[in-house]
C-alpha cells in the first residue's frame, strides 16, 4: 500500500466510518428480517435496506445534542445517529432491557439522550415534532439543529406544508430530509402525487436540493451545507435524497399481497446491483479512491458480525418487558 498524506488518512478514516455505519445497519436489519420472518419476535418490522446512505450521510454531520425525528422505517436512522444496537434489538424483541423498555417496539425506537426523538408509527408523525424541536432550540437560544427524516409517502400529509411554512416564516433551525424511495407503502408515489414534492419547499422560499440518496458522500455534502446554514441562523433547508427500498413495506408483505405486486423483480434487482446498492457502490469507491484495502473491509465485516450476534444474544436472553411499568411511565409522578 502506498503512503497516504495526512489529509488522505483523515478521509480514509472518515470514509471507513461511513462504510461501517452503513454496513452495521444492513447486517443488523438482515438479522432482524430473518428472525421476524421466522416468527421470532412480536409485531411487524419495516426495513431500511437499500436506503442506508441517506440516513448515514445525514447523521454523519450531526452531534448527539442535535435532534432527529424518524419514520416507521427507523432502525437505520436510530443506528446512524449512534443508537445502541443491543438496546434496539432488545426493544424489537419486547424485552425490558430495550431502549424503550419494550413499550415502543420496532416502529418507535428512540434514544432521547442521543437526540433521537423517535421512530414514529404515524406516517408524517415526526414532521411537526421536528418543527417543534427547532422552535424549542430557537426559543432556548441553543446551538443545535433539528432534522426531520421523512418519506415521499409522508410528504403527501398536509402537516408537511404547514410545518414547512412555519419553519420558513420563523427561520427555524430545521433540515427537512425527504427520503424519496418512490413508494408510499404499497402504492407507487407518482401515481398519487401531482408535481414534484421538492417544489413544495420551494413554494415557501426555502433552499431545496435533490441528491443521489444512494451516494453517502453526496448526501453528506448537501447535509453539511444545510446544517451550516441552520447553525448560522439562516433558517431551514430541504434535501431530497433519491433512493429505493429493496425490501417490502414490511417483512410479512407477501402475506398481504396475495400473489399481486406493486413493482417488478427486475426493478428491485436493478437497485441491488453493485452500481446502485449504496454499500457495494461505496465499497468500490473506498478501494479506488479512499485508500482502503479489502482487508479493511473484511475486518469491518467481521466486527459487525460479532456485534450483531452479541445484540441478538442480549435480546434473546433478556427478561420480558415489565407490564407494571405501563402504570409508572404513562405520566410523570402520577398513576393513570
Amino acid at each position: 500500500m502506498t503512503e497516504l498524506s495526512n489529509v488522505d488518512e483523515q478521509r480514509r478514516a472518515d470514509w471507513l466510518a461511513l462504510y461501517e455505519r452503513m454496513l452495521l445497519i444492513r447486517r443488523a436489519e438482515e438479522r432482524v428480517g430473518k428472525v421476524a420472518q421466522a416468527g421470532g419476535m412480536p409485531g411487524g418490522v419495516h426495513l431500511y435496506i437499500g436506503q442506508e446512505a441517506s440516513g448515514v450521510g445525514v447523521c454523519s454531520v450531526l452531534e448527539d445534542s442535535d435532534y432527529i425525528t424518524s419514520t416507521h422505517r427507523g432502525h437505520g436512522h436510530f443506528l446512524a445517529k449512534g443508537g445502541d444496537i443491543a438496546a434496539m434489538f432488545a426493544e424489537l424483541w419486547g424485552k425490558r432491557t430495550g431502549i424503550c423498555k419494550g413499550m415502543g417496539g420496532s416502529m418507535h425506537v428512540a434514544d432521547v439522550s442521543k437526540g433521537i426523538l423517535g421512530a414514529n408509527g404515524i406516517v408524517g408523525g415526526g414532521i411537526a415534532i421536528a418543527a417543534g424541536a427547532a422552535l424549542g432550540i430557537k426559543t432556548g437560544k441553543e446551538d443545535k439543529v433539528s432534522v426531520c427524516l421523512f418519506g415521499d409517502g409522508a410528504a403527501n400529509q398536509g402537516v408537511l406544508m404547514e410545518s414547512l411554512n412555519m419553519s420558513a416564516v420563523w427561520k427555524l433551525p430545521v433540515i427537512w430530509v425527504l427520503e424519496n424511495n418512490g413508494l408510499s407503502e404499497f402504492t407507487i408515489t407518482d401515481k398519487v402525487t401531482a408535481g414534484e414534492q421538492i417544489d413544495r419547499a420551494r413554494a415557501v422560499g426555502m433552499p431545496a436540493v435533490s441528491v443521489d440518496g444512494n451516494d453517502v458522500i453526496a448526501v453528506q455534502e448537501a447535509m453539511q451545507e444545510a446544517v451550516d446554514r441552520a447553525r448560522a441562523g439562516e433558517g431551514p433547508s430541504f434535501i431530497e435524497t433519491k433512493t429505493y427500498r429493496i425490501r417490502g413495506h414490511l417483512e410479512a408483505e407477501d402475506a398481504f399481497l396475495g400473489g399481486y405486486s406493486y413493482r417488478t423483480q427486475e426493478e428491485i434487482d436493478a437497485w441491488k446491483a453493485p452500481d446502485k446498492d449504496p454499500i457495494l457502490r461505496f465499497a468500490t469507491r473506498l478501494l479506488a479512491e479512499g485508500g482502503a484495502s479489502q482487508a479493511d473491509l473484511d475486518e469491518i465485516e467481521e466486527r459487525i458480525a460479532q456485534q450483531v450476534d452479541a445484540a441478538e444474544k442480549f435480546a434473546e436472553e433478556s427478561e420480558d418487558a415489565d407490564p407494571e411499568l405501563i402504570y409508572d411511565i404513562t405520566f410523570d409522578g402520577q398513576r393513570p
Binding site: Y67, T69, G98, I99, C100, K101, G102, M103, G104, H108, A110, D111, V112, S113, L117, G118, N120, G121, I122, G125, I127, A128, I129, A130, A131, G132, A133, A134, L135, G136, I137, T139, G140, K144, S146, G158, V159, E162, S163, N165, M166, V169, W170, L325, I326, D328, I329, T330, F331, D332, G333, Q334, R335, P336
Partner: protein, 329 residues
C-alpha cells in the same frame, strides 16, 4: 384574597408563570391580540422570542408542542376553541398522549393545552363542543375543568409547572364571572374534588360550566326541603373517585351534570365508577344531565332545548327524590 374575573385569573397566571420561568413559551392562533382575553399583554411583555402568534394549522401546532417540549421547553399551546382539539387531534392522540409511555419514560412533555369549550351562545355545532370524552380517553393526558376563578388560577399553575400534557378547559361562558382568588403563590392539586355546598339528601356532581347552575338548583331545592350537596371534580383526569364516592355514600343519591354529549361522557364514566363503588349505599338510580347525542344547533331556542339547564337539573333531582322529601318532611 381579591376579586378577579375568571379570564383575568388565567391571564395573571400566564404573566406570573412566564415571569417566574423563562423556559416557558406560549403559542397559538391570535394570541397576540388575545381574542379571549386570557393572553392579554403576554406578547407585549415577553416578546416574539417566547410568544408565537401562529398561522391557522392546529394539526401542526399540537405536534410542535410535543417537539418543543421534547427539546426542553415548557409549552403553553392556546387552541382557542374546544372543537379545535379535533382539528389538532392527530398529534394529541398519537404523540402527546403516547410518547412518554412509548419511549419507556424517556420523554417528559410539560405541555399545557388551553381552550374554551361549551355551548349556550349560538355559535353552532363547530364551536360549541365539550371535548371531555375524547380527551379522557386518549390515555396520557390530564383533563382539568376549573369552575371558579380561584380554581382557574390554582389548576393552571399546577398544569404549567407539571411535567405531563394537560388539557386546561376554559369555561368559555364564565369569562366574565368573578370570584375571590387567593393572592400570591396558589396551586390546586389535580385529583381533588371540591365540595361547593354541603348537603345530606342528594349529591349533585357538576363539572366546569355546570357548577353554577347546579348551585342555583341546590339553593332552590333547599327551599323545597331537599338538602343537596354540590361536588365539583375539578379534574376529570385524574378523577377523585374516592372524594365523589364519599359524598355519594353519605347521600345515597347521585345526579351528574356534564356539558358533554351523553354517550361516553364524563357523566357516564363517573356514573359507572360510582355504581361500582357505592352500589350498597345507593337509594335510587344514578341520573345524568348531559347534552343528547346530537350536534349543538344554532338557534337559541333549539340550543336551549338540548342544553343542560337548571330546570333539567332540578327535574333530575326530583325524579329520584322519592323518599327524601318524605324523610325530610
Amino acid at each position: 384574597m381579591a376579586k378577579q374575573r375568571y379570564i383575568q385569573a388565567i391571564n395573571q397566571v400566564f404573566l406570573d408563570e412566564m415571569e417566574r420561568d423563562e423556559n416557558i413559551i406560549l403559542f397559538g392562533e391570535d394570541v397576540e391580540l388575545a381574542i379571549f382575553g386570557d393572553t392579554r399583554e403576554v406578547y407585549k411583555t415577553f416578546g416574539p422570542e417566547r410568544v408565537y402568534n401562529t398561522p391557522i394549522c392546529e394539526n401542526s401546532l399540537t405536534g410542535m408542542a410535543v417537539g418543543a417540549a421534547a427539546a426542553g421547553r415548557r409549552v403553553i399551546l392556546h387552541l382557542m376553541f374546544g372543537n379545535f382539539v379535533y382539528t389538532g387531534m392527530d398529534a394529541i392522540a398519537h404523540q402527546m398522549a403516547k410518547l412518554r409511555m412509548m419511549t419507556g419514560g424517556q420523554m417528559d412533555l410539560p405541555i399545557t393545552v388551553i381552550c374554551g369549550y361549551g355551548g349556550g351562545r349560538s355559535l353552532a355545532g363547530q364551536h360549541s363542543d365539550t371535548p371531555f370524552p375524547v380527551l379522557m380517553n386518549i390515555g396520557g393526558g390530564n383533563v382539568v375543568t376549573p369552575a371558579t376563578p380561584a380554581d382557574a388560577k390554582g389548576l393552571l399553575t399546577t398544569a404549567i409547572r407539571g411535567n405531563n400534557p394537560t388539557f386546561f378547559l376554559e369555561a368559555s361562558g364564565r369569562g366574565g364571572d368573578s370570584g375571590e382568588v387567593p393572592e400570591g403563590e396558589y396551586l390546586v392539586p389535580f385529583g381533588k374534588a371540591a365540595v361547593h355546598k354541603e348537603g345530606d339528601d342528594v349529591t349533585i356532581c357538576a363539572i366546569g360550566t355546570m357548577v353554577r347552575p347546579a348551585l342555583r338548583v341546590a339553593n332552590k331545592l333547599e327551599d323545597e326541603g331537599i338538602s343537596a350537596e354540590v361536588i365539583d371534580p375539578r379534574t376529570l383526569v385524574p378523577l377523585d373517585e374516592d372524594g365523589i364516592a364519599a359524598s355519594v355514600r353519605k347521600t345515597g343519591r347521585l345526579v351528574i351534570v356534564d356539558e358533554s354529549k351523553d354517550r361516553c361522557s364524563a357523566a357516564s364514566h363517573i356514573a359507572a365508577v360510582m355504581a361500582d363503588k357505592c352500589f350498597d349505599k345507593l337509594k335510587a338510580p344514578i341520573k345524568r344531565v348531559t347534552v343528547p347525542n346530537v350536534s349543538m344547533p344554532y338557534a337559541n331556542v333549539a340550543e336551549m332545548a338540548i342544553f343542560p339547564t337548571p330546570d333539567k337539573i332540578h327535574a333530575a333531582v326530583k325524579s329520584i327524590a322519592g323518599e327524601m322529601e318524605v324523610s325530610n318532611a
